[in-house]
Each structure stands twice: as structure tokens, then as C-alpha cells.
């Protein structure tokens, strides 16, 4: 479909839907903000009590610091190794923590029956889902920020310690590293939204398994798109196209390769990926609210 035409049709539909429901969503939005914020704060407080999250963050910090032991490599190689390894560590542990935080948020409330106490108050179900999501985002932002600060610190330290050679200089590429970490956070945010959606309909185990699969497939979206383009069987082509359209395009947020190779980054593309991610997450959270609303609690 022509992208411009698709955008115009989409915009028209969104405006019509918003105009038709304005009497419902306008007052609901005003009421939702304090409720969502309260639930988010409770979610953050619960997460802070979990020692495992702090232990994982400390582990990552130690891994990042230990990555300075590549002194036998040339300065250029050292900087590449540190950047790619550091960003990979942030991604792996960020995604793992996102999966294990988000997958338990709603099922745990259901199992411990604390959800009854919350929903008995004037809190709508979509506010509950959104509050949980915002809470998870705050926790994950703190985790990713901590790991990024440590990586930047390690890079700056190495930059001051490593002696440059005439044809090989240590390049900390701090701007690129911070940008890649921010993009990484947005990828985690999109995945978290999807995990919350799955957790409203599936068991915790199923949610965790699905999250890992979505992570792997989302990171290979360009390959899926290639395979769909070259598939001979119409069924295969249709199946791959559906997967390509449904699964979040986590590769959009992946700038680790460019940053590690010191390739100039198109920052605008990153922010376009963020817009795309916000739109995708909005759809996912609307679906999560619908499913949670229909659920017998």
C-alpha cells in the first residue's frame, strides 16, 4: 500500500474514532492520570523490594568493568570490543529483566488476589494495565540508565588509560553509545507492552516463553521480510508477512552495530523508530485493556 495513502486513511480513522468517543475518553483521561500514577508508584515500590533485580544490575556492572581486560588488543579493537560487548550486556540483561518483571506484574496480582482490593476502588481496568506498564517503564529506565552510566564511565576511564597508536586510536564514541542505549530502552519498552498484553490472557510460563520467541523474531525482522519476499509458496509468503506485520520491529531500535563500527548514525531514523514504537505500544495496550476488561476477575 502507498505509505502516504495509508497514513491519510489511518489519520482519518483515528480522528473519526476519537470524535465519536469524545464524551467517554475526555473525562476518562482526566480521571486516569492520578490513578495510573498511583499504580505505577506501587509497582515501582514492589520492584524495589525484589533483591534479584539489584543483584542482576550489580552483576552487569561487574561484567562491564571486567571488559577492560582486553589490553593486548589495539586501541581501536579495544574500543570496539568494549562498546559492542557493553551494549550487548545492557540489551541482554535489560530484556531479561523486562521479561521477568512484566510477565509477573498482572498474574501475580491475580494470584495474590490484591487485584480485588485495587479494582474495588474507583480504578478502571485500563488504568490498572496502564499503571502497571508505566511502573515497569520507570523500573527499566532506572536499570538501563545505571548500566549506561557504568558503560560510559568504563569507556571514559579506558580512554584516559589506553595509549593511542599512530594508526589506531581508542574511540569511546560516547554520543553513539548513549544514543544506542536510549534506543535499546525503547525496544525494551515496546517488548514490555507486548509482554503485558500476553500476560492478560496467558499463564506466566507461557508469557515468558512467548516473550523470548518474540524477542528473537523481532530482532530478525529484516530476515523475515527477506524470506517473505523470496518465498515461493503463497502460504509461506502469507505466513511470513503476517509474522512481519504483527511482531514488533525491534531491529528498528538496534544501532549497536553502527555504534561499534563507528559508522555515522542517522539519529532521525532512531526517533522515527521511537514514533513507530509508541504507535505499536498504544495498539498493544488498547488490546491488553480489552482482554483484561473481558477477563473474569
Amino acid at each position: 500500500m502507498n505509505p502516504q495513502l495509508a497514513f491519510l486513511i489511518g489519520l482519518f480513522i483515528v480522528i473519526v474514532a476519537l470524535v465519536l468517543t469524545r464524551r467517554q475518553w475526555a473525562p476518562a483521561a482526566v480521571h486516569a492520570v492520578p490513578s495510573v500514577w498511583r499504580i505505577a508508584k506501587i509497582t515501582v515500590a514492589e520492584a524495589r523490594r525484589r533483591r534479584v533485580i539489584q543483584a542482576v544490575v550489580i552483576l552487569v556492572v561487574l561484567i562491564l568493568i571486567s571488559m577492560t581486560f582486553f589490553s593486548y588488543l589495539s586501541p581501536q579493537e579495544q574500543s570496539r570490543m568494549l562498546i559492542s560487548g557493553g551494549l550487548a550486556a545492557i540489551t541482554v540483561f535489560g530484556i531479561l529483566l523486562a521479561i521477568f518483571i512484566a510477565a509477573f506484574l498482572i498474574p501475580q496480582e491475580l494470584e495474590s488476589r490484591t487485584v480485588y482490593a485495587i479494582l474495588a476502588k474507583p480504578v478502571r481496568r485500563f488504568e490498572f494495565v496502564l499503571g502497571k506498564y508505566v511502573g515497569a517503564l520507570i523500573i527499566l529506565a532506572a536499570i538501563v540508565a545505571t548500566m549506561t552510566v557504568v558503560l560510559v564511565g568504563v569507556l571514559m576511564l579506558q580512554d584516559s588509560l589506553v595509549q593511542d597508536l599512530p594508526d589506531s586510536a581508542f574511540n569511546p564514541n560516547l554520543k553513539g553509545v548513549v544514543f544506542a542505549a536510549i534506543m535499546n530502552y525503547f525496544a525494551i519498552a515496546v517488548l514490555t507492552g507486548l509482554i503485558i498484553l500476553i500476560s492478560t490472557v496467558a499463564s506466566t510460563t507461557m508469557t515468558v516463553i512467548s516473550a523470548f520467541i518474540i524477542w528473537a523474531v523481532g530482532s530478525l525482522q529484516s530476515t523475515i521480510s527477506d524470506l517473505a519476499a523470496h518465498a515461493e509458496l503463497p502460504v509461506t509468503k502469507a505466513l511470513l508477512t503476517v509474522v512481519y506485520l504483527i511482531v514488533p520491529k525491534l531491529e528498528n531500535f538496534d544501532f549497536r552495530n553502527e555504534v561499534s563500527n563507528f559508522v555515522p548514525i542517522s539519529y532521525g531514523t532512531g526517533w522515527e523508530a521511537v514514533i513507530q514504537g509508541i504507535g505499536y505500544t498504544a495498539v498493544v495496550l488498547i488490546l491488553a485493556s480489552i482482554f483484561f476488561n473481558d477477563r473474569q476477575v
Partner: protein, 319 residues
Amino acid sequence: MSSGRSRKLILGFLMVGILLMLVPVQDRIHRARPQVFDPDRKIKRVSAISVGPTPAVIAALGGFRTVAADLLWLKAERVWDGGSWWAMLPILDAVTELDPQFVLAWQVYGWHAAYNLHAESETIVDKRYWLDRGVTILEKAVEANPDNWEMIFELGWTLYDRAHEPWRASEYFYRADQFPGAKSYVSRLYYRCFEGVLDFERLFPALEYAKGRHTDPNVSDDVQHQVIANRDYDWWVQHKDDPQEHRRQIVLENTKRAERSVPFYLYPDDPYWQVCPICGLPSPKGSDVCSVCGAPVKQLSERAGRPSPASIPPDRTEL
């Protein structure tokens, strides 16, 4: 229709609307990052399927191609230290497959084939094979990194220094020199390509071009470049019509190559060179006489040979 169902319907429309609005955004992202999303690009970052069932592929599946490439790169370093030169090839191949933007890996891969394995080979056929392989590797590297001047320069340098194809090399030097950040030696190597083969039609425009590059008097490298380029220009203006000097230049060039045990390997249908049956040295095609010994062109054999360094007369520098 109940209010619940109508609400769901409206929310459904809202979701479809949002998704449609995202279509042009994704389209722009695809166009902005062709190295990731363009299916027509021959070398892509995602090539896990072509690498084969290795641990690197497993890592690549999670979007960790760069880390997988790094781990293999460390292995390549260990193999290099152990002296297993031939074992480095599959590792370097996997590294560049996993991360085609890893410029250093491409440079080492191409250099390793064109220089080290070429030198290790015992037969001329093998030497030719590794030289061609090195050039092919670097051509792939340029295809994967068309905006990286260092990669383009590396290919030009291998063609100039190892394959003795100065005309082809000059194209890459010129291309590399167009990028911001290209060092001044790139523009000097551009005209050096024509010096060795006495191609005056191209040499003087290339010298003029080099003189017009890197002209900032506040940059020491630029000042040095201007001194060298102007000196070379003046020298060639002075010796343009001196055939003795031309011969001396060619012999000096041959001597340099012979000293490094890099003999000429001419293709049977080499478009640029032919071997003089009198002096045994390569001479550019198209001239009336051998540019080294002055033998008439009719005496030049059409058969292209591969003279060994030993066939070059020992007193060649005294011509």
C-alpha cells in the same frame, strides 16, 4: 448493538488507524538504513543462514551479530598468534559475514589473502589465486561499505601495490579521495598510479587534481602534501620529454618490486602489459618500443609470460 460491543468496534478502528499511520514511518526507516532492510543489497548484515550452524549463528539469532563477530575476531587473533595462517580464513569469513561493517576485519582478511597466503604459496597458479581472492574479498568489502574511504583505499592499495593494476587502482584512489576525512596520501597515490606506467595523458590532470586538494595552510599534513605534490609536478614537467629518465623510472619501479620478491604476474590477455622478449621486463602495451630497453614493438612477443625476479638484469638500476 450493545455499548460494550460498539466500544470494542471503535477501539478496533482506532487500532487499525494507528497501525496504518505507522506505515510511512516504517517505510522511511527502511529507506534510511539500507544495510539492514534493503533486500536487494547483495551483502547484508543478516547472513546467519549462510554462515552455517555454528555458535555464532545462535548468538546472531538474538540480534548479537556484532558480539558474535567480536568473539570470532578474538579467536582469529589467537589463531594468528599460533601461526595457523590457513585456519584464519574460515574465521575471518564468518566475522565479515556476521558483521560486514567491521572494516578492520575486511582489511585483515583481504590483506591476509593477497599478501600472506600469496607469499606462502609455492606455485604461480596458487599465488595468482590468492592475489585474486584478496582482491575479490576487498571488492566485497567495498560493496558492503560503499561510504567508507578506508575500505575503498584498501582495495586501491592492493591493486596498486600487489596486483600491479595501476589504472584500476587509480579509480579506487580517486573514489576514496572524494570522501571527507580521506588522508592526503590518497590523492598523491592517485597520480602515482600514472607515474609508474608513464601515462602522461592522465598523470598531469591527476597531478593538477592533487595540487588542488588539501590546501589548508593551517594544517601541517596539508602543508606537507602541497610541498610533495608541487615538487612532483615540477619534476614531471621537467622530465616529461626525457626517455632515458622514463626508462630509469620504470626500472626503478621494477627493482622495487623485485626486491620485495613481487614479480609481475601477467594474465595471458593482459590489457595493459606485455613482456619484452629482449629484456624480459613488462612494458606497457600500445607503445612503439619497449619502454625499458627500447626494442622495436614488432619484436615484442604477443605471448605474455611471467618472468621471475631472477630474470631481471642485476644492473637494471644503472640504465
